[in-house]
Amino acid sequence: MVGKGQKMIRVTLNVNGRDYVVEVKPHWTLLHVLRDQLGLTGVKYGCGTGECGACTVLIDGKPMTSCLVLAASADGRKIVTIEGIADKGKLHPIQEAFIEAGAIQCGYCTPGMILTAKALLEKNPNPTEEEVRRAIDGNLCRCTGYVKIVKAILEAAKKMKA
């Protein structure tokens, strides 16, 4: 049997402001636990090797690929997923900007893209186009060609300052 004799680890994951106590296997990734244990399916599995950014979440404020983070090692960290950024049903300004700019096609990259943008705008509320492009270097989109995504993030920056 796969995983026989593996010792479970009890961890507390703080996800979107709420503590979840879960039992995880040593090899489970944060991505796996978020999707399959906590039902937060906004975070996507893409490449599984940290190259595509579809599984991006914020960990202590920084965007990271959750496919390369062991759930056990995320114990006690503050994790934010796409489900956690709207405010009582009102979309986050970056989410609004993505819709308005038509920056979403298939949508698979969108959660990661938006979370990376959120981390960028928190650190740098007034980025240049170049800085936006550099920030999303690790989030691949195979539909849009990035033009509308970059536009949406720049528009979101304006919205958030207003």
């Binding site: 010792k7 040593p26 090899h27 940290g50 920084k62 983070v69 062991l70 920030a135 270097d137 690790g138």
Partner: protein
């Protein structure tokens, strides 16, 4: 096919705890720092994970004797560190630029980049060029090894059972020292087909010390010592004249292999070009070209 199914996970609070687990489990243990290599490789032989990510080894400190970089400093920490803006330490920050994505660099550590001992790793050439040393803690206490002597072969370092890389120490560079790092990969995220760091220390118009360190062209990062000797003692003007020969000599000292990323001949040829460009860059910055 066997899968990555470790039996047990340990998160350690002290270096001593890490050392004792690593000693107990030996080759069945894997160290987890950032995890950006471990969770891509997912080696099936790993039975125990020793998570060192909470140890207080995430720092970059500059003192009178040099710069100390904790093994858990992330590549983004290094890229943004105010301690690594000044010449020649800026070359350490520069070495992180063409590695991985901004997302993985938020948790990939310098210790992991070194200890995985990939011949193509981007951090070692600059650090070797600055005569950095690895500070190791193990069951028998602490020891120091010049980073140049740290690598034994692909994925093999001098680390023995129970030992942990705790810190990289970069000694204070003599005045008038500049260094440059150049990399050629297929894309900016991909690992190097060839990388090179060159460091020159100039005194009174003469080259006092030279380092040419090449990666991905031998089983470990290598110093091109014969090429370095061609530079030492020479004036800047003379160096400008012999640059092409120095670069050719450096390329001759490589022992590249052919693999999925590049054929050996290409690697040797790129090693020559990058060394020449690195020297050109330094000559311009020293005002000798």
């Amino acid at each position: 096919m066997p899968l990555f199914r470790p039996k047990e996970y340990f998160r350690v609070a002290t270096v001593g705890e890490a050392v004792s687990l690593l000693k107990r489990f030996g080759g069945a243990a894997a160290i987890l720092a950032g995890g950006t290599d471990l969770l891509v490789a997912k080696p099936p032989h790993v039975e125990y994970i020793v998570d060192i990510s909470r140890l207080p080894l995430n720092y970059i400190k500059k003192g009178a004797r040099g710069v100390r970089i904790g093994a858990l400093a992330t590549l983004n920490d290094i890229a943004a560190s105010p301690e690594l803006r000044e010449e020649p330490y800026d070359v350490i920050a520069r070495s992180t630029w063409d590695m991985g994505t901004p997302l993985t660099k938020n948790f990939a550590t310098i210790g992991g980049n070194i200890c995985n001992a990939a011949p193509s790793a981007d951090m070692p050439p600059s650090l070797i060029a600055l005569d950095a040393e690895a500070r190791i803690i193990g069951p028998r206490g602490k020891r120091r090894v010049l980073l140049e002597d740290f690598f034994v072969g692909p994925k093999k370092s001098v680390l023995k059972r129970g030992e942990l890389l705790a810190e990289i120490f970069v000694p204070r560079a003599p005045a008038n020292t500049k260094a440059v790092f150049l990399k050629k990969g297929r894309t900016s995220e991909d690992i190097a087909q060839v990388n090179v760091a060159v460091r020159l220390t100039v005194d009174d118009g003469l080259c006092k010390a030279a380092r040419i360190v090449l990666g991905a062209v031998a089983p470990t990062p290598i110093r091109a010592k014969a090429a370095e000797r061609m530079l030492e003692g020479k004036g800047l003007k003379e160096i400008s004249q012999i640059m092409v020969d120095v670069a050719r000599k450096a390329a001759e000292e490589t022992k590249p292999i052919s693999d999925v990323r590049a054929p050996a001949e290409y690697r040797r040829s790129v090693a020559e070009v990058l060394t020449k460009r690195a020297l050109l860059n330094l000559m311009e910055r020293f005002g000798g070209a």
